[in-house]
């Protein structure tokens, strides 16, 4: 049943991702009436599938890469809905919905078979650690997309080309707000996620956990994240330089993600 819900979610993400294109790029508002319910349905079925799957297999904890990516997809889908309702723009769906669909398609059609029975998995703390960090990654991705949209709109305005009033690009101030607010949302998520992970690791693995490259990279990511928010708030960094900064932090996030493969302690195995 879980896989069925997940496949329905993939289908609905796909429909929403396609419908959002004419709605945003071709000024066809009727397509919004298809994109929004499809995205809402996708997020709902995705949530049900993920909750069922995690509860049945891993005691509510995403263990393998596919499940973690799927959860990130769910967060991105939900973020799209929040942005569409709050800022009345579906433009973010052009990027977020295909990514959500792609992140969901693998677990939907090639589910992982890992079954772990590790006592730590029975606690909710690890779930919180993973969920909060994924939320921070999603926020960073949204901030990056918003910065790109800002740059495109800024260039259009500077080139002084005529465009319809109902353009797919949100106003500069809106994209700027989205970029900053998503970063501000991501910071407590990342901080709390890392803190929870550190406390759990300290209790179960001991101080050697903190010499792990994955953990060191995570700390660097957190520092850069804080620096980015400080620079943005303090100097009002926008446009091209904001993209470079967001892009740099995003690369660090990818490095942290990839470091899972190198880490000897950041694994779901008993120490």
């Amino acid at each position: 049943m879980t896989l069925l819900w997940l496949r329905v979610a993939v289908l609905l993400y796909g429909i929403a991702a396609l419908a959002v294109l004419p709605a945003a790029l071709y000024n066809r508002p009727r397509w919004r009436h298809l994109a929004m319910p499809a995205a809402l349905g996708a997020v709902f079925f995705h949530f049900v599938a993920l909750a069922e799957m995690l509860n049945a297999a891993h005691h509510a904890l995403p263990v393998d890469t596919h499940e973690t990516l799927s959860m990130l997809g769910l967060l991105l889908g939900a973020a799209f809905l929040v942005l569409a309702v709050r800022y009345r723009t579906v433009s973010f769906g052009i990027f977020l919905l295909p990514v959500a669909a792609l992140l969901t398609v693998v677990p939907a059609f090639r589910p992982g078979a890992e079954l772990l029975d590790y006592p730590l998995l029975h606690t909710g703390w690890l779930f919180l650690h993973v969920a909060l960090l994924l939320a921070a990654y999603a926020a960073l991705l949204i901030s990056l997309i918003a910065s790109v949209l800002y740059l495109v709109q800024e260039r259009r305005l500077k080139q002084k080309r005529a465009t319809p009033a109902r353009t797919w690009l949100p106003p500069l101030e809106t994209t700027d707000q989205i970029a900053l607010k998503s970063l501000l949302f991501g910071l407590p998520c990342m901080t709390a996620g890392l803190l929870i992970g550190s406390v759990v690791a300290l209790e179960t693995i001991g101080p050697r956990f903190f010499a792990d490259p994955k953990v060191l990279l995570s700390l660097a990511m957190w520092l850069v994240y804080i620096a980015m928010i400080f620079i943005r708030r303090h100097s009002g960094l926008r446009g091209r330089r904001a993209i470079y900064l967001s892009g740099f932090v995003f690369l660090i996030v990818l490095a942290v993600w990839a470091a899972n493969q190198l880490s000897v302690v950041h694994r779901f195995r008993a120490p």
């Binding site: 305005l157 080309r161 005529a162 106003p171 500069l172 926008r238």
Partner: protein, 428 residues
């Protein structure tokens, strides 16, 4: 195509900005306060059953349903002219050369084009639909429209809505002031709580400021070499919801960072150089600032546009955008024209079929009445002979007679459906 309403003929007589100069249009214009009286008076003219008057600054049109379907254009136009002569005291000779007369399908198409803003001076402008609706409301209130014009007007509104939804005919601004407001919205989104700085005084800058205030800007600062003039402008634009203030011209650069939109029109050389604009951006912590430079020579160094966060549009830029938008609108207008054509044809066909549908209904009901009477008579005769029909026989006979009636009527119904109502009228 030629179709007539059930018991009348649709006629539209009028002048617009393409057929009549302003001197004629202003004499014909009927103020909203007098529109109800005028509509009532037109509907009361001999031979007119329904009437609606559309009076705007660009057109005066009388849409009527006449009682006589076979009257000539000349007679109907004469009625309209006599109404104008009596109501507005205008000699017919002054109006006749500018008048156009449209009948039936052409009148329907014209009405759809007007409501969809395809016949407007600025194609795609949104006000005309509201004006048509106002005329329709007035005509309904005075009881001047009923079974023919009421559905026609409602269809016109639906067509206008379809045109707006399916094309981008009204989605871009074509005047300098509205282009500036549209650009401001693309930068700031909502203009609520935004501050406008007016540097210098001029009609165009005043117009642009008013347009931005209409869009939601709440604070207006004015700076002018003559402070008294600045205060006069600030006073003129102050309302309970708009806060205004004056910045002494000597302190302009110290205060400019307070403004999000700067409309400048002094023509006194480059007041905003690259250096002081860079300082401005720094003081605003890179928050965007929009320069609307309508001065000649320009007040803002064009290179300021290259600074991050600065958007500079001079008068030529605004005009170019307006021109590009006009081109965009005319492309969209082609699509809109085809929508209107399809809708007018469809409505015309429906109108043309209305008399045939009525005749078919009458024919069927008459045949059904005859069939039922004959059945009852036969049943009575059989009952008198003590040979009543069994329920099965009754059903069989019912089926037989109904089938016979339908088959006998079929060629006539087909003929009615395929007959041109006008020709049928002549034949009758």
């Amino acid at each position: 195509m030629s179709e007539q309403t059930k018991s009348g003929s649709l006629l539209l007589v009028g002048v617009n900005h393409t057929t009549a100069p302003l001197e004629v249009r202003e004499r014909l214009a009927i103020p909203v306060a007098r529109l109800a009286d005028a509509t009532r008076s037109l509907a009361g003219q001999p031979g007119i059953r329904e009437a609606l008057i559309l009076s705007t600054c660009n057109r005066v049109e009388l849409l009527t349903v006449t009682e006589s379907p076979d009257s000539t254009d000349g007679a109907e136009a004469a009625t309209a002219l006599s109404f104008l002569e009596n109501f507005l005291n205008i000699p017919t000779a002054a109006v006749t050369p500018h008048l156009y007369t449209l009948r039936e399908h052409e009148a329907i198409r014209h009405l759809f084009r007007v409501a969809s803003s395809l016949d407007s001076m600025v194609v795609g402008e949104p006000q005309i639909l509201g004006q048509v609706k106002e005329s329709w409301n007035i005509a309904r209130e005075v009881g001047a429209i009923s079974s023919t014009l009421d559905p026609l007007l409602q269809r016109a509104f639906a067509v206008a809505k379809r045109v707006r939804t399916e094309t981008q005919i009204g989605s871009s601004s074509v005047s300098i002031a509205s282009v500036a407001a549209e650009l401001a919205r693309k930068i700031f989104g909502s203009l609520a709580s935004k501050t406008i700085l007016l540097v210098g005084a001029g009609k165009m800058s005043d117009l642009a400021a008013r347009h931005l205030i209409q869009q939601g800007a709440t604070t207006l600062l004015v700076s002018n070499r003559t402070e008294a003039r600045a205060e006069k402008i600030a006073d003129a634009l102050r309302t309970p919801t708009i806060t205004t203030g004056v910045i002494p011209f000597a302190q302009l650069h110290e205060q400019t960072h307070r403004a999000d939109i700067i409309i400048t029109s002094t023509g006194a050389g480059q007041i905003f150089s690259l250096d002081n604009s860079r300082a401005l951006v720094h003081r605003r912590k890179n928050r965007p600032v929009f320069f609307i430079d309508i001065a000649v020579p320009r007040d803002v160094n064009p290179a300021v546009n290259k600074l991050e966060g600065c958007f500079v549009y001079d008068i030529d830029d605004l005009q170019q955008v307006a021109q590009d938008n006009r081109t965009l609108r005319s492309r969209e207008a082609e699509t809109a024209e085809s929508i209107v054509q399809i809708e007018a044809d469809r409505y015309g066909e429906r109108l043309a079929q209305a008399p045939a549908t009525e005749a078919i209904k009458q024919l069927q009901s008459s045949a059904e009445a005859t069939r039922e009477a004959e059945l009852a008579r036969t049943a009575q005769r059989l009952a008198n002979l003590n040979a009543p029909l069994t329920p099965e026989q009754q059903t069989a006979i019912e089926h037989l007679t109904r089938s016979l009636t339908n088959k006998l009527l079929h060629p006539q119904i087909m003929a009615l459906r395929g007959t041109d109502p006008k020709r049928r009228g002549e034949d009758d």
